[in-house]
Amino acid sequence: MDHAEPVPELPVSHPTPPPRSAPGPLDGLQVIELAHPFGAFAGRLLADAGADVIVVEPPEGAEMRAHGPFAENRPGRERSLAWWAENTSKRSVIADLDSDDGRRFVSDLVTGADVFLECEEPGRLASIGLDYPQLSAANPGLVHVAITPFGRDGVGGSYDVTDLTILARGGPMWSCGYDDHELPPVRGRGNQGVRIAAHFAVMSVLTALLARSRHGGQFIDVNMNAAANVTTEFASYGWLAAQQTVQRQTGRHATPNPSEPTQVRCADGRFLNTGVPPRTGREFEALLGWIRELGLEDDFSMSPLLEMGVDYDVITMAMLQDDPMASEVFQAGRDAMAYIAANVSAQEAFLGFQARGIAAGVVWSPDETMTDPQFVERGFPTEVYHDQLGRAVVYPGPPIRFTASPMSIRWPAPKHGEHTDEVRSELMP
């Protein structure tokens, strides 16, 4: 394993939990979550939005606590970074669902809750008397959401899955990879198949809550395979409407017919996404101006074509088909972006193009976002104090910026059963 970057020095700013400026949008809502790798992120989004999310763990600890990587590379139930990442702002209780006491505890919790979130195998909860019919009898307003690979009632419930197989069967992988089809399709990193389903689970919970005063509680069946299937953009509607099959390409949209590259390597080795190429005279003028500033006008053989581009108002799709010179000018614009990018750093290229009104994006690695000026100025990187480390570490901040009821990481992921006594005492009449 490499350690290319030194551990960043971060000030210890606040004890846990951090102070909250104002209650989040889900303040006052109670959610009971049965710990499962497929449901943790959905629970986290609700918890960071202010809901009181109580995650129920088995006596041996949630499965995710065994998922690496681990803090300081030392495995341990309280050191799983996967657990830390997906369980902020929650409380943890221990309950053994194989015991009467554990089942009663969970049943009591759900009876007083607004939302029950679980990812159990179909049939499992019914067999222990904790499924929707029993739970809703005691709590008619309950919103019960189940996240399963093929849906509770769907075909395929007994198939074994992981994030990888969900993204393969569900479609996203067909569109991702390289121009060279000797290389395999690629799974985007970060357990995105789990996250796609989590987003639908959260949208569903909120939709059901907004219907509750008129329609009461209900059961919601979230199908992970279906969620991936409807998160493929052109691949699906291109087939549905026009029976077109997209083919994967390096760093850009999969398309029915090959398209020009949009990912260029910059002088510092990082990549830049060049977006939609320039079409207007103003953009060609800006490109030419920058090439001159860099002293590259004589080295870039297509400079004269850029000069011609300045005279165009806009190069339209129709002109590209009918006017050979417009096509050459258009191609020169593309090449100019790649040429400039190859001569400056990716960050300089990104800022330079955007300052000139030309869309482009630097290809940051995930951690590089945390020191990018835009993310920093908006206060996105968030320090969270961990007593396991005796210091605060940086987390990505909330994904949505509410101005009146902010989402926030209120405290780090709970320790195993950290709140069992507290929550049991709250249940006392």
């Binding site: 551990v7 990442a85 990193r189 699906s236 990549f271 977006g275 955007q354 949505i400």
Partner: protein, 438 residues
């Protein structure tokens, strides 16, 4: 060469639960039928958000510009086209993203047009838009103006970088948001450039977060009576999706920018080996296999019967991780001459997660798992005729989604909305048309 779809896709056994396709479609009352959205969204990052609310019965009033014929949303006239028919009403992406919405036109360059919009805001719960930062302000409809019309309005804006900060005026679309948020880099094989996402993953996902923003803000309003402005940045939503990878950097100093990373077909959280994408018989056919633990490994060995796999050093995960390159070579050699669906079925039979990489045709028209869910509902578009679209991957027991209406043609619902929502007479509406206001 085996043509796509020539091999039967294995049918996963049913759980024995009732068949959801027998449920009457559209019979359920709308979960959100009490909500009205004044919708300026476009593309997928915005239109995808209000789409969800529309599928659950919210009244989504999509406002378009009659002068530029709604072209702010480039998808209106963009391919793919059904039957090769082109034009402003023929974009199938636009149709897919705008089902269950009403479409009206207002010329906001006119005073009367602005007045109509003000009246509409007054009777709306939500105003949604994904213009570049500052556009709504310049039109005279920034948050403060909206709030002066309706105190508890929920105003959700969604743009590439948010409305504050040094990049607030930067241009963005899906691939740029993916690049800047780290998602392009984190998809790729070791020793190769980023593969990224072969579609606008962050347009989909930005839309999901925008829908979550509207729904959370509506819940907050229901509890407190308070409206608000939500300033969503698509790149922030993207940077929130890295999970343990980001903490591995901030806690352990391990960055994803390194020679042997991200290598995203392998599994690091949790660690698994073997875990990858393997070439099969036929052209561009692949199967994914994930060995979660020692039990999966034993089961995998029993199916593939590769002698080298019997070596004791592979009996535990650290041994398999250390030898993963060799394991993948053996496994690739084994899969290369076999049919992917047969591999998948044989491995699933012994409980090992395996799935073929499905082509669009295979998962849409050949997979009972999506067909039986009713995942591809048919809508009837005024110009395109019958077209299937994305359904929703959820089922509600009481107030389920319903997708039967296609995207609106330009101004399709002008009479309905200006008549029933704003109470104008037919004569009033005729006059608005004559004056070029709508």
């Amino acid at each position: 060469m085996s043509s796509p779809g020539s091999d039967p896709i294995p049918v996963p056994p049913s759980t024995g639960a009732p068949d959801p396709t027998t449920a009457p479609p559209g019979a359920a009352p709308g979960a959100l039928s009490h909500i009205r959205v004044c919708d300026f969204t476009g593309q997928l990052a915005g239109a995808g958000a209000t789409r969800w609310l529309g599928a659950f019965g919210a009244e989504i009033i999509r406002i378009e510009d009659p002068i530029r014929k709604g072209r702010w949303d480039i998808l209106r006239g963009s391919p793919p086209f059904k039957d090769e028919r082109r034009g402003i009403e023929m974009g199938s992406g636009f149709n897919n993203h705008n089902i269950e919405k009403l479409g009206i036109t207002i010329n906001l360059r006119t005073d009367r047009g602005k007045e109509l919009l003000r009246e509409l805001v007054t009777v709306s719960d939500v105003v949604a838009e994904n213009f570049a930062a500052g556009v709504m302000e310049r039109m005279g409809f920034g948050y403060e103006s909206l709030r002066s019309l309706r105190e508890d309005i929920v105003y959700v804006s969604n743009c590439g970088f948010g409305h504050t900060g040094p990049y607030r005026e930067f241009k963005s679309w899906g691939p740029i948001a993916q690049a800047v948020s780290g998602l392009t880099h984190s998809s790729g094989l070791a020793g190769h450039p980023p593969a990224g996402w072969g579609y606008s993953y962050m347009d989909h996902t930005g839309g999901y977060y925008m829908a979550i923003a509207m729904l959370m803000a509506l819940w907050h309003r229901e509890q407190t009576g308070e409206g608000q402005w939500v300033d969503m940045s698509c790149t922030e939503a993207g940077a929130n999706l890295h999970g343990a990878d980001l903490l591995d950097w901030s806690v352990n100093g391990r960055a994803l920018r390194a020679e042997d990373r991200p290598d995203s077909n392998r599994a690091t959280s949790p660690e698994m080996a073997p875990h990858g994408v393997y070439r099969c018989k036929g052209e561009d056919n692949w199967v994914t296999i994930a060995c979660r633990d020692d039990a999966d490994w034993k089961a995998l060995k029993s199916v593939v019967e590769i002698d080298a796999f019997d070596a004791e050093r592979y009996d535990d995960l650290p041994g398999r991780l250390a030898g993963v390159v060799e394991l993948d070579e053996h496994l690739s050699a084994w899969t290369a001459s076999r049919i992917r669906f047969e591999i998948e079925a044989a491995l699933q039979e012994v409980g090992v997660p395996a799935a073929s990489v499905l082509r669009p045709a295979e998962r849409i028209d050949g997979d009972i798992a999506t067909a039986s869910w009713g995942l591809w509902p048919m809508v009837h578009h005024l110009a395109m005729g019958g077209v299937r679209v994305d359904g929703e991957p959820v089922r509600f027991s009481t107030t389920d989604w319903s997708i039967t209406r296609a995207a609106p043609t330009l101004g399709q619902h002008n009479r309905h909305v200006f008549g029933t929502v704003l109470g104008l007479s037919d004569a009033d509406i005729d006059e608005l048309i004559d004056q070029g206001v709508i």
